[in-house]
């Protein structure tokens, strides 16, 4: 059995998932919590974005299950059964991508390297040419002739598989919906086709189709070629971008998780108690927000760096080390970004505490703590919700910027910021290497766009000013 390894960020991610599930159960039983989410579920834009986000989350979660693989029989020694290297489930699934390392740069779907080398031919003659890749398109006899047909054929097979998978999934969901609504399967299909269902299933299915198409084509092509090319050391760029998904998600979600308790507690306390409590908290956050965030982050990360170098023996593996640095980055980003939400909550609480129902509770002799939990917190939750989803995309982008200036995640860790950072040199190279940057941008852009569209839908549903009327 492989030995399971739970990294710090893994633990927090699973905690977050547990919290979300718990909240989901709670919300299901309370009408006022359920109603806005139902509005979200009816929004076409929101649900379309959710499908895309779901794919990202799936990638992120599979990448968060870490383990130490078993050593091959031959290398085992007494007591040492496991490799020292920590892998994730995603690594395992992407084994072909991970292991098919070329020598250096190669363009997307290429069969030859991107730089000329001296090649010794069968007759002993040295020729300076682009050598064939070790893995990419290695099965082709004559790349010049077969390449286009092979790529097209592989893509078509992928598309067909995608279609089959899509039909299967859509069929199951439609059958389930038909069963629930008490309609026949055919009627349910009609309902969905003419977009008459409450939840916009048509949009969801279309998005699902697009996602499956992309996934299956990429999978088929990725095994035979390097779909997005390789980087300087010949590592597959598709693999790197997929690994970066987790980093982006972790930064986007854990930072909020870390800052939320402080922001909520401090914001509500400042607004509710007023007086010196308010003064102290306001003083803290005005001071904190007037220090340039980047400086604070740089200082903290460099300190951590020094600590890690001095205590190298405390970290069992490179992955653990990089993980700690990631967690630390989340904490630092959290510390610098809670002030905005705190300020919002303080203002809202100032308003709420003057409301009659809070006064009525005071007149009953209800304790301050109970009033905060029962009356204030539920009534500011919509602000928390809106700012959490809005902050997410900002944080993903922040990671890219920080890694670009070298104070982000560990250089050994895959992240879009690191990819963009290394692309700095590649862009200056002649001929230009564009695919690393492009791949990072496309993946990041899709995630941020989906997150933004989804947060728009959430805000529309939760913002009381936009509610009503209809």
């Amino acid at each position: 059995m492989p030995e399971l390894v739970v990294l710090w960020t893994d633990a927090l991610i699973f905690l977050l998932i547990a919290l979300v599930l718990l909240f989901g159960r709670l919300a299901a039983s309370r009408e006022h919590l359920r109603a806005p989410w139902r509005t979200v579920a009816r929004s076409r834009m929101g649900m379309g974005a959710l499908v895309v986000l779901g794919v990202y989350v799936l990638i992120g979660v599979t990448d968060s299950i870490h383990y130490k693989p078993l050593l091959p029989e031959a290398e085992r020694s007494a007591g040492v059964m496991h490799s020292n290297e920590v892998q994730s489930l995603l690594d395992y699934l992407l084994t072909p991508l991970r292991e098919q390392q070329e020598k250096t740069y190669s363009a997307p779907l290429a069969t030859h390297l991107y730089s000329k080398e001296n090649i010794e031919q069968a007759d002993g003659q040295m020729v300076r040419d682009y050598p064939r890749l070790k893995y990419g398109g290695a099965h082709l006899q004559d790349p010049q002739q077969d390449w286009a047909a092979d790529v097209a054929w592989t893509a078509i097979i992928g598309a067909q598989e995608a279609l089959l998978a899509w039909l299967l999934v859509v069929g199951i969901i439609t059958a389930w919906l038909a069963h629930r609504a008490g309609r026949s399967f055919f009627q349910q299909c009609q309902q969905i086709l003419y977009s008459r269902t409450e939840v916009p299933w048509r949009v969801i299915f279309i998005m699902l189709g697009i996602v499956l198409l992309a996934a299956f084509t990429a999978a088929n092509l990725g095994v035979k070629y390097h779909l997005l090319g390789t980087d300087k050391v010949g590592e597959d760029v598709l693999y790197q971008t997929l690994k970066s998904v987790r980093t982006g998600l972790v930064i986007g979600t854990l930072t909020t998780l870390i800052m939320l308790p402080a922001a909520i507690l401090m914001g509500i306390m400042a607004g509710y108690f007023r007086g010196w409590v308010d003064d102290v908290i306001q003083y803290i956050y005005t001071t904190l927000s007037s220090i340039p965030g980047v400086l604070l982050i740089a200082a903290a990360i460099l300190m951590l760096h020094v600590y890690m170098n001095n205590h190298a023996d405390e970290f069992a593996s490179l992955v653990e080390r990089a993980d700690l640095r990631l967690l630390f980055l989340c904490i630092i980003l959290g510390i610098t970004s809670w002030t905005g939400l705190c300020r919002l909550l303080r203002g809202e609480t100032l308003k709420l505490r003057e409301l009659d129902y809070v006064q009525a509770a005071q007149a009953f002799g209800v304790s301050h703590f109970t009033i905060i939990i029962r009356h204030i917190l539920p009534n500011v939750l919509h602000i928390v919700m809106i700012s959490v989803v809005l902050d997410f995309s900002g944080l993903v982008l922040a990671e890219a910027v920080l890694s670009y200036v070298n104070i982000g995640v560990d250089p050994t860790m895959n992240s879009w910021g690191n990819m963009i950072n290394s692309a700095r040199l590649e862009m200056a190279r002649e001929p230009i290497v564009w695919w690393s940057l492009m791949a990072a941008l496309i993946f990041m852009f899709t995630l941020v766009l989906a997150a933004n569209l989804f947060s728009d839908a959430v805000r529309d549903a939760f913002d009381p000013r936009l509610r009503g009327g209809k």
């Binding site: 309370r30 009408e31 006022h32 409301l355 009659d356 129902y357 006064q359 009525a360 509770a361 005071q362 007149a363 009953f364 002799g365 209800v366 304790s367 109970t370 029962r374 009356h375 539920p378 009534n379 009327g469 209809k470």
Partner: protein
């Protein structure tokens, strides 16, 4: 040329689309003659404001006019293209709104805003625009118009802002002025000023006024003709005098009966049972049938026809000419007779002595205290067991602060609050927490006083839990259901959210919540002023019945004299943080001694022409409590002020056992 200025025929305005649009206005006809004041009377949600917006064609995006015609003079307003309609708005038709605070742009000076209206609608190149603005300001009775020209809205009081709004509406020299609840947000003394101004302007310019209001008193004061609206239809039209003598429609009659007052003191107020039917349906019978007490079989399945029984008088009812014959209210109404004001033994339950609440004013970087807002400045009062003391006064006089200071929701700056031998201001922590069960509060806005995210059950339970009464969960549940029944709600209400109830029902829930901890004194902070007249009657009935059953004492904070007259035993009149006059209801309301009380009472619009007091118009507004006048606080506005009044604040002069007045006029 006829003398009809505005003619509306079969106007239908619907809100929303889809399967069941809300028929906000469902076929109304009305005519307004030149130079008359036409009042559109109705409760909230009956479509009065929608009518005004339809005339101006300023409906919200979801609203649309589906049928009918509106003619202003010879022009058909509904056929005009938008650019010509813009000339009519503010040109021949002016409009003023309910809330003067939000109707003016806070970042522009008053002069600029009026000048804008002048430039658009009264563009005369020879004329100096500023001169015209100043003239307008003078016309609406604003002192120092030249200086006011360059002031911002926040520098003006509410009454002044409403005058500015009227000046803007007058800029285009309109033939029709639509006034949508123009005085609802104002105090009675200011309301009297504004109504008098509108009347005077009308006489000078001969314009017609469409006055939209829910206040029968205001209608009686100023209107020439009245139309009563109910559920999107006009149910009765009549000249003002005839209407107040004999209202014909059962709904109109019910409205009159539900107005509280002295003469109804010993009886339950008539209430209109049930609620207005939802308007998203097509009706097949009379809309009022479900709530009418003279309902006949025909009412339920046949839509009544408009019955024009005299020139300019009509009623929408199956009873011919309305229901003159059945004016006598059902006998059962009287059964709840109160044993009138019997003298209870003078054991005060609550006695407040020299209560002061000052709010510090901070200034500068170090937030030094530079002064105080004297919200409550030495108030003394007593409430005996089982009696009601009403505190009346205009907004900003500190009456709500008194209530909250008694409850210790706001810490008093000085003074004593003795409740049943306990000094509340000295109580701390657990002792105070336990005492809180005895004193409860009901707020003005029932929606804001309940957490929208809690079930009614949890809302009522909260106090019981905090006070640790009511035993186990099952017992509490029984008690809650019992409380809900006591306030006239079904037990099933416990498992619903506050927003599922109507305004009156919500206020009942608030009463139930207060009762849950078995209080002995309830502070009612304007509990009915956010409600319609007919709903107000329900709540007042409930409060009175509870007082008899449970022997509760009330501190009733209000600005509505009619409610005081109906419910209270004693009255205290407040002005600028101090009580200027107090006594029993009969003493104070029949024979007011303080000039302020006299002015306040005279400003209240009354329905009976005979009972109208001689109107005393107060000049100006209430001064700021941060900087009260030297001497008697009232002297700058007092019509009977003397030199001595500026010297020192007059002491309370005790006239009888129950009566005291703070005025130098009464000093011998």
């Amino acid at each position: 040329m006829s003398d009809v200025l505005l003619r509306i025929k079969n106007l239908k305005t619907w809100l929303g689309t889809g399967a069941s649009p809300v028929r906000a206005i469902d076929g109304i006809d009305l005519e307004i003659k030149k130079g008359e004041t036409f009042a559109l009377l109705g409760e909230s949600g009956c479509g009065k404001s929608m009518t005004a917006l339809s005339i101006m064609r300023l409906l919200p995006p979801v609203g649309r006019i589906v049928d009918g015609s509106i003619h202003l003079g010879e022009t058909s307003l509904l056929d005009l293209p938008e650019n010509r309609m813009r000339n009519e708005r503010g040109g021949r038709m002016g409009m003023i709104f309910q809330e003067p605070m939000t109707s003016l742009n806070p970042v522009l000076t008053v002069g600029t805003q009026i000048a804008e209206a002048v430039c658009i609608h009264d563009a005369d190149p020879q004329q100096d625009i500023k001169a015209r603005v100043v003239e307008l300001l003078k016309e609406v009775g604003i002192p120092d118009p030249e200086q006011r020209f360059s002031e911002y809205p926040h520098q003006l009081s509410g009454g002044m802002k409403q005058r500015v709004m009227i000046a803007m509406a007058l800029a285009g020299r309109p033939q029709l002025l639509i006034a949508d609840e123009p005085t609802t947000a104002l105090d009675v003394t200011i309301q009297a000023q504004v109504l008098a101004l509108m009347k005077q302007l009308q006489q000078e310019s001969g314009m017609a006024i469409l006055l939209i209001t829910h206040d029968l008193g205001v209608v009686a004061e100023v209107a020439d003709r009245v139309a009563v609206m109910y559920a999107g239809q006009i149910v009765e039209t009549a000249p003002c005098k005839a209407f107040f003598q004999t209202p014909r429609h059962p709904y109109s009659r019910k409205l009159f009966q539900s107005i509280p007052g002295r003469d109804k003191r010993s009886e339950r107020l008539a209430v209109i049972e049930g609620t207005v039917p939802p308007l998203d349906q097509a009706f097949s019978g009379c809309r009022f049938a479900g709530r009418c007490d003279v309902v006949m079989a025909i009412c339920h399945h046949q839509i009544p026809q408009w019955d024009q029984y005299a020139e300019g008088q009509g009623v929408l009812c199956h009873l011919q000419g309305g229901a003159e014959a059945t004016v006598e209210p059902p006998a059962s109404v009287k059964e709840h007779a109160v044993a009138a004001v019997e003298k209870s033994p003078p054991t005060p339950l609550l006695s407040v002595d020299g209560l002061k609440v000052y709010f510090p004013i901070h200034k500068g970087i170090f937030k030094r205290v530079v002064g105080h807002v004297r919200a409550v400045d030495g108030v003394s009062l007593e409430i005996p067991v089982g009696q009601t003391l009403a505190v009346v006064g205009e907004s900003g006089c500190g009456k709500t602060t008194v209530g909250k200071a008694i409850l210790q929701l706001i810490k008093p700056t000085a003074g004593q609050v003795r409740f049943d031998h306990d000094e509340l201001t000295q109580l701390r922590g657990e002792a105070l927490r336990r005492r809180r069960a005895d004193l409860q509060i009901i707020f003005q806005d029932p929606m804001a006083s309940m957490n929208p995210r809690m079930l009614v059950h949890n809302i009522i339970e909260e106090g019981m839990l905090a006070q640790g009464i009511g035993g186990q969960a099952a017992e509490r549940r029984m008690r809650i259901e019992q409380l809900l029944e006591q306030v006239g709600l079904p037990a099933s209400a416990a498992d619903r959210y506050p927003h599922e109830f109507s305004g009156g029902q919500r206020q009942r829930i608030c009463v139930a919540r207060a009762l849950a901890v078995e209080p002995r004194l309830i502070i009612c902070d304007e509990p009915t002023s956010a409600l319609d007249v007919s709903v107000q009657a329900q709540i007042l009935n409930l409060l009175q019945a509870l007082q008899q059953q449970l022997g509760l004492s009330y501190l009733f904070i209000t600005h509505d004299i009619a409610v005081v007259d109906y419910l209270a035993h004693e009255v205290a009149v407040m002005y600028l943080g101090r009580i200027v006059e107090r006594g029993t209801v009969a003493e104070v309301l029949d024979d007011p001694q303080h000039p302020y009380t006299q002015a306040l009472l005279s400003a209240v619009p009354v329905i009976e022409q005979a009972g109208r007091r001689k109107r005393i118009y107060l000049q100006g507004d209430m001064p700021s409590p941060a900087n009260p006048p030297v001497g008697c606080y009232f002297h700058p506005r007092c019509p009977q002020a003397m030199d001595r009044c500026q010297k020192s604040y007059p002491k309370a002069i005790v006239l009888s056992e129950t009566r005291s007045v703070s005025c130098l006029l009464l000093e011998k």
